[in-house]
């Protein structure tokens, strides 16, 4: 429900919001998130707390807005951002530089931990200008993969000065986003509607597979992989369309779903309940796609005494061998779609979901936290 949403105007346009990952056995909901800004003379990486549990009322309702814990200057627009682990955040810059920031939790400060200057560049890396925007970053500790407007793919390893692998001119178009398919394989999407698989075990600088939207070459802006069924991939396009791909078969998407009226900037499967998917767009909307087949089978999401919360049970995932996402016509009877922002006007640039919590940031310079997504 909308009344569970806490907003805060932060005087900077937010390009990225990311929850800090939880330790493996954590039962608590996430409490910290990071944001990055863009288009400012002085862009910043900020760490926010959603408020301590003391702020939660008797009935589990949450009061108060996110509190700033610390922030640090960032050179250039923040184009993408991923937590490497509990303490380190990898940030992609419009200057082409990739920086690892460390969040020191004892004294609540941020510092630049490691930096790859102009990891993405045009023509010549050494000239004074010539940096190309790094558009996407994905981490699988200790590995970091970045893509950029220069069509380049970099594989870095944290604490290692030079790139482990660089594929120059991997794509003749702009690479917009990247995600891991398996430990040695990545997925990229580009500005001519292609989804490509790259295998780092192969020495060839060619993609191992290319998928593409037919016809209009609509640029793809985001990509996410189903957390349990790795062959299911979701992408979002310039026309706001959500595409679902089965990378085991064919070269075209399994389903094209009409959603937003403008660029879809991010798509995320819920990490522990992938029947739910979230997308946000330039048109100022944020959609919740729910394919959980039957209301009675909906995974339990119980509040126990208002304080601790159990996460989705995993049994539903193992049950469904054929995912709801791959059914012939997902729109027909199985999908429930809700816009979570009724009166928004400016772009929702980023969202992140973890457990029952959603965080998103907008060009209207506000961040929003919903801690009871499924209530």
């Amino acid at each position: 429900a909308m009344e569970d949403v806490c907003a805060r105007f932060v005087s900077q346009k937010i390009s990225k919001t990311r929850w800090r990952p939880l330790p493996a056995a954590a039962l608590q909901p996430p409490d910290l998130f990071a944001t990055g800004s863009w288009d400012n003379e002085d862009n910043r990486i900020s760490i926010w707390s959603v408020g301590d549990l003391g702020n939660v009322g008797l009935h589990g309702e949450y009061q108060g807005e996110p509190q700033l814990l610390c922030d640090i200057r960032h050179n250039g627009d923040v184009m993408d951002m991923q937590f490497l682990d509990q303490e380190r955040i990898v940030v992609a810059s419009s200057t082409g530089t990739v920086t690892v920031f460390r969040h020191h939790q004892k004294n609540q400060t941020l510092s630049a931990n490691q930096r790859w200057e102009k990891a993405h560049y045009h023509v010549d890396q050494d000239t004074s200008c010539g940096g190309a925007a790094c558009t996407g970053v994905i981490c699988n500790n200790p590995e970091i993969v970045t893509v950029g407007e220069d069509g380049r793919i970099n594989l870095f390893r944290a604490d290692q000065k030079d790139a482990v692998r660089t594929i120059d001119n991997a794509d003749s178009s702009t690479l917009h986003a990247v995600t891991f398919l398996r430990t040695t394989e990545i997925l990229t999407v580009n500005s001519i509607g292609q989804l490509k698989i790259w295998d780092f075990r192969q020495q060839r600088n060619e993609p191992s597979q290319i998928f593409s939207l037919t016809g209009d070459r609509v640029p793809l802006h985001c990509v996410d992989r189903h957390p349990n069924q790795q062959h299911i991939v979701a992408t979002g396009g310039q026309n706001g369309m959500l595409s679902i791909w089965d990378i085991r078969q064919g070269t075209m998407p399994v389903a094209l779903l009409n959603a937003h009226e403008a660029e879809m900037w991010e798509v995320h499967f819920h990490p522990s309940n992938p029947d739910h998917l979230f997308t946000c767009s330039e048109d100022g909307s944020l959609w919740h796609w729910d394919t959980s087949t039957d209301v009675s089978e909906k995974p339990s999401f119980l509040h126990q005494g208002g304080r601790s919360t159990t996460y989705f049970s995993h049994n539903t995932i193992n049950q469904s061998v054929v995912s709801a996402w791959l059914s012939n016509d997902p729109t027909k009877d199985r999908m429930e779609i809700t816009n979570l922002i009724p009166n928004q006007t400016l772009s929702v640039n980023s969202l992140d979901i973890l457990g029952p919590c959603l965080v998103y940031g907008t060009d209207a310079e506000a961040i929003y936290v919903n801690r009871q997504l499924f209530a």
Binding site: S11, S172, R217
Partner: protein
């Protein structure tokens, strides 16, 4: 016109000739060498004749550094200084949402519910101002920098004045409260904004024994002056219990205060009823005053006089009211409680004895129902366009400004919105908000948007996409073309042919697509292989954008067919590229050379007819050249032609044999 006179600090036209360049939201003022006197004695103008209005303008001296007396300076003058204040960004963003909501709101809603809706919008705007004020106040407390502190404090007082004015306008214009409720609203307004006495009240009320406090009667007076009867009576009851001898006197005063008729918010009583009750109560107070009931206690006597609306008695408490508008409202309360909005002006000047500050002038204009005067004075006094733009828009939605047209085209609402939005567009980040404001300016909004949007720096593709989306949604084809072209040029400069082609395809820019296709073909001719195959193989229908692009796509298809050893299909396509004139003439030689390996295949590929056509192509190509050109052709070229002729002849021979054999069998 509502144009404030502005002084650019440091620019002195008496010492230097100045020149100006006008931008959409900024003005460049430049010192020139023109007409300089060798000596420029100061003419002693007695300092700036007019003080710079607080923050109306901000001027930056750019470029020259320390310079010397001889170096020229350049000033960048911004129209809207407040746009650059970090803490106000919250105000701009949050009010943007309210503004959009108001534009989308249902005009059809009938009388009362529409008014309730508009009042709610007005309150939302005010709560944003207050929230911002709170933030600014916190910032002022937290900062250790004295300069920052004073800057924040100034902003707090400006925001507070803005809220005060807005609130009054809300009562008088938006809500347009009827007689009776109007007074209650004005009392609320006074209570909310005259905070100077709150400290005394707090001090007395929190003291151990309030009735013994030296400021006790001041607090009672404050309550009475603000019409807070219950609180006044509560305090008095404490004093009464401490003075058993005069308990009767307290009781009478308490009774009078209790019985004071209050205008009701609902429609439960008519104005006449209220006036009758008032008359009755007034006479009762008069009686007690005349028979000397309160003679022994000057405090109570003066309260009784206040209840009777005695002007001198009220004026005596001037220090407790601090402002003339408090005095005005108090006087209305006790002498004229059923005042109708239009009658307010009669009582106005009685309180206006202090020299009018801008704020006073604005509030007076509001009390006089001079809406346009309010807007004009605010435009002059405030350092931002935010306030007047949003207030005027709200009043316009209340249908209060319709008759007023400016002599230069658009109406006042639009004029102010355009100014405000232009200010937003001069900001590196807030420009996105400006778009929606321009959208709601029917006359000039579109032109302004077109002019401003082209000036947004495009440092990343993502930002370009956002700007492009704005233009595409509004069918601004010219701007779409220009943005795509800029991006395509950038990509081309960075040697990113694929990206460049994508941008020109998006802009449907055939000429540029041709240019890029030529680059691809040139690269191919030089290196012998195609770059960016992933793109060229994927052109799809966009291939038809330009002839050259079509050729590029088809030519690449030929190479693919050849690579896949689908020779006859490849041969057919190759020939078609020339005979259908898809290939540019300059490329025919390359195509014919590409035919060579096909002609040399063991198996015959070109039919007799096809071979004749190839020959004609070759002859057309060589015949088309002048003798001079032929002379310039190098040996390689001549040899190529000879080889081709030979290969074609051989192929013809083979094919005649083959086809003859086929026919014969």
């Amino acid at each position: 016109a509502a144009v404030p006179s502005q002084v650019v600090p440091g620019a002195d036209p008496s010492a230097r000739q100045l020149c100006f360049a006008w931008g959409p939201a900024e003005v460049l003022v430049c010192e020139t060498l023109f007409g300089r006197r060798s000596e420029s004695p100061s003419r002693g103008e007695g300092g700036p004749g007019r003080a710079l209005l607080p923050g109306t303008l901000i001027a930056y001296v750019a470029g020259t550094g320390e310079g010397g007396p001889s170096s020229s300076r350049l000033f960048v003058v911004r129209k809207d200084q407040d746009i650059y204040i970090q803490t106000l960004r919250k105000l701009f963003n949050e009010s943007h949402g309210i503004f959009i909501g108001l534009q989308r709101s249902e005009e059809e809603l009938a009388g009362k519910s529409r008014k309730a809706q508009l009042v709610q919008v007005s309150k939302n705007y005010r709560s944003v101002i207050r929230a911002c004020m709170e933030d600014m106040h916190q910032a002022a407390i937290l900062t250790r920098d004295p300069a920052l502190h004073s800057q924040y404090s100034t902003q707090v007082s400006i925001l507070s004045a803005m809220e005060l004015i807005w609130n009054l306008c809300e009562i008088l214009f938006v809500e347009a409260a009827a007689a009776g409720p109007l007074l209650l609203r004005l009392l609320d307004w006074v209570r909310l904004h005259v905070c100077d006495v709150d400290n005394i009240v707090h001090e007395v009320l929190s003291s151990e024994n309030p009735s013994k406090h030296e400021l006790f009667w001041n607090v009672v007076d404050v309550f009475v002056l603000q019409g807070r009867m219950d609180e006044a009576r509560h305090l008095l009851s404490k004093e009464a219990s401490a003075n058993p001898t005069s308990v009767n006197m307290y009781k009478i005063l308490d009774d009078l205060m209790k019985k004071m008729p209050v205008p009701s918010l609902g429609n439960t009583q008519t104005l006449t009823e209220m006036e009758l009750k008032w008359q009755h109560w007034h006479e009762e107070c008069q009686r007690y005053l005349q028979d000397g009931t309160f003679a022994s206690n000057s405090h109570m006597e003066s309260i009784c006089k206040i209840l009777l609306g005695d002007e001198d008695a009220i004026l005596e408490k001037k220090d407790l009211m601090t402002t003339w508008y408090h005095f005005l409202v108090t006087r209305l309360l006790y002498s004229h409680p059923t005042v109708k909005p239009m009658e307010l002006r009669m009582d106005l000047f009685l309180g206006g004895e202090s020299s009018p500050e801008p704020l006073d002038t604005i509030l007076m204009a509001a009390f006089e129902f001079e809406m346009h005067q309010v807007i004009k004075e605010c435009s002059i006094a405030l350092s931002n366009w935010w306030f007047v733009a949003h207030l005027t828009d709200l009043l316009d939605h209340c249908k209060l400004l319709q008759s007023h047209n400016l002599y230069f085209g658009s109406n006042m609402r639009e004029f102010l919105l355009l100014e405000y939005a232009s200010g937003l567009f001069s900001h590196h980040s807030l420009w996105q908000l400006g778009v929606d404001y321009f959208d709601h300016c029917p006359e000039y909004g579109r032109v302004y948007l077109e002019l401003h949007i082209e000036r947004i720096p495009l440092n990343t593709e993502q930002k370009a996409l956002k700007v492009l989306r704005i233009c595409e949604q509004r069918q601004m084809h010219e701007q779409v073309r220009s943005i795509c072209k800029i991006m395509a040029m950038k990509a081309l400069r960075n040697n990113r042919l694929g990206s460049a082609l994508s941008w020109s395809i998006r802009a449907k820019d055939a000429a540029f697509a041709t240019l890029i296709s030529d680059r691809f073909l040139k690269d191919y001719c030089e290196s012998g292989c195609f770059s960016d195959l992933d793109l060229i193989d994927n052109l799809g229908p966009s291939m038809l954008l330009s002839d050259r692009l079509t050729f590029l796509g088809k030519y690449r298809e030929f190479h693919r067919l050849y690579g896949e050893k689908r020779f006859s299909e490849a041969a057919k396509l190759l020939l078609m590229l020339m005979t259908a004139h898809i290939a540019p003439c300059s490329f025919w030689m390359t195509l014919l050379t590409d035919a060579l390996p096909l002609l040399e295949q063991k198996e015959v590929i070109f039919s007799a007819e096809q071979t004749y056509e190839l020959m004609r192509c070759l002859e057309d190509l060589t015949a088309g050249k002048s003798d001079k050109q032929k002379f310039q052709d190098d040996d390689v070229e001549i040899m190529k032609v000879e080889m081709l002729r030979l290969a074609l002849a051989r192929n013809l021979a083979r094919v005649i044999v083959k086809e003859g054999t086929l026919e014969g069998s």
